[in-house]
């Protein structure tokens, strides 16, 4: 764990992870924030590789980069552009104070604690081991997790889906479009990033 290549990998990945996370704080556009989140997640996947947890690393890329970030981008695209700023609330100063205290406490615990005899052993065949323990030792949590995912799936669909009759946002304008009275620009519904466009939050309703 002390050769040069490992050092290089660790520090580069740590910089990537923390840099991406900090850019989420700074960036003013929510879509950029999600892209920075992806960078941070890739850095964490790389750190898993340095810890020789390759199964977790691949799962991290598969779920966070391939699914969760895309889901977030979709949700952002479904709300109009006025809702895409990424600024701070009023309580950010006291929140910063709290976070600073938490950071001092956790860093102190992480660095100062005697973690006992440090082993340096990596699991081999993690996918097989994790799979076997999931269906033997952790069968009950596994089943509960399955139920949770199903419930989340059903719940998310039930929440996000609109009834056909009372869709408040677009149904009226679509009806008008069908009657040939007005025409709506599809960009009002899902609009690209135009630099200086007045906010259109809720005007289509």
């Amino acid at each position: 764990m002390s050769d040069f290549g490992f050092h290089l990998a660790f520090w580069a990945l740590a910089a990537m992870t923390l840099g991406g996370a900090s850019m989420i704080l700074i960036s003013r556009n929510l879509i950029h924030a999600v892209i920075w989140l992806v960078m941070s997640m890739l850095g964490i996947a790389g750190l898993y590789l340095t810890l020789s947890a390759d199964f977790i690393a691949v799962v991290q890329v598969l779920i966070y980069v391939g699914a969760i970030s895309v889901l977030m981008l979709f949700a952002i695209m479904l709300t109009p552009r006025a809702e895409r700023d990424n600024s701070q609330t009023k309580i950010s100063a006291p929140a910063g104070l709290v976070v600073l205290l938490v950071m001092i406490a956790t860093m102190w615990v992480a660095v100062d604690t005697d973690w006992g005899p440090v082993r340096d052993g990596a699991l081999t065949e993690q996918a097989r081991l994790i799979g076997e323990s999931l269906i033997k030792h952790y069968i009950l949590p596994f089943e509960i997790g399955a139920v949770l995912l199903t419930a989340a799936l059903v719940g998310a669909i039930a929440l996000a889906r609109q009834d056909e009759e009372d869709g408040p946002v677009h149904a009226a304008s679509l009806q008008a479009e069908l009657d040939g009275e007005t025409s709506i620009d599809p960009a009002d519904v899902i609009d690209p990033p135009l630099a200086s466009e007045p906010s259109d939050g809720g005007t289509t309703s």
């Binding site: 490992f6 941070s40 709300t79 609330t89 950010s92 938490v102 929440l159």
Partner: protein, 104 residues
């Protein structure tokens, strides 16, 4: 200097705090979700570090824990984003400091 457990723990703590700050201070509901995701990832990183450097009997259970956390995080994001959509639909905003219906 060798890179050991402390480095990963410190990195995880820093990442957790950045995520915590994002979750506390962002106006946008999706921004808050991003912060929560970062916090969960920091915890995952810490767990995997313990799986590598900790005692041998936790090596497997920590990784199983990480798998569970990732599953729960995926469910949480799906429901959270659906909630954000519903809030937007009803209130025309997903800014967390403007959805103040319960504030007297």
């Amino acid at each position: 200097m060798t890179i050991g457990l402390e480095h990963y723990l410190a990195l995880g703590a820093l990442l957790f705090c950045i995520g915590f700050f994002i979750a506390l201070s962002k106006k946008n509901a999706v921004g808050v979700l991003i912060g929560v995701e970062l916090m969960l990832n920091a915890v995952n990183l810490t767990l995997v570090a313990f799986s590598r450097f900790g005692s041998a009997e936790v090596a497997l259970s920590t990784q199983v824990f990480v798998v569970f956390i990732i599953a729960v995080a995926a469910a949480e994001v799906a429901v959270g984003l659906a909630l954000a959509l519903v809030v937007y639909r009803n209130r025309q905003t997903i800014s967390v400091d403007r959805t103040t219906l319960l504030k007297g």
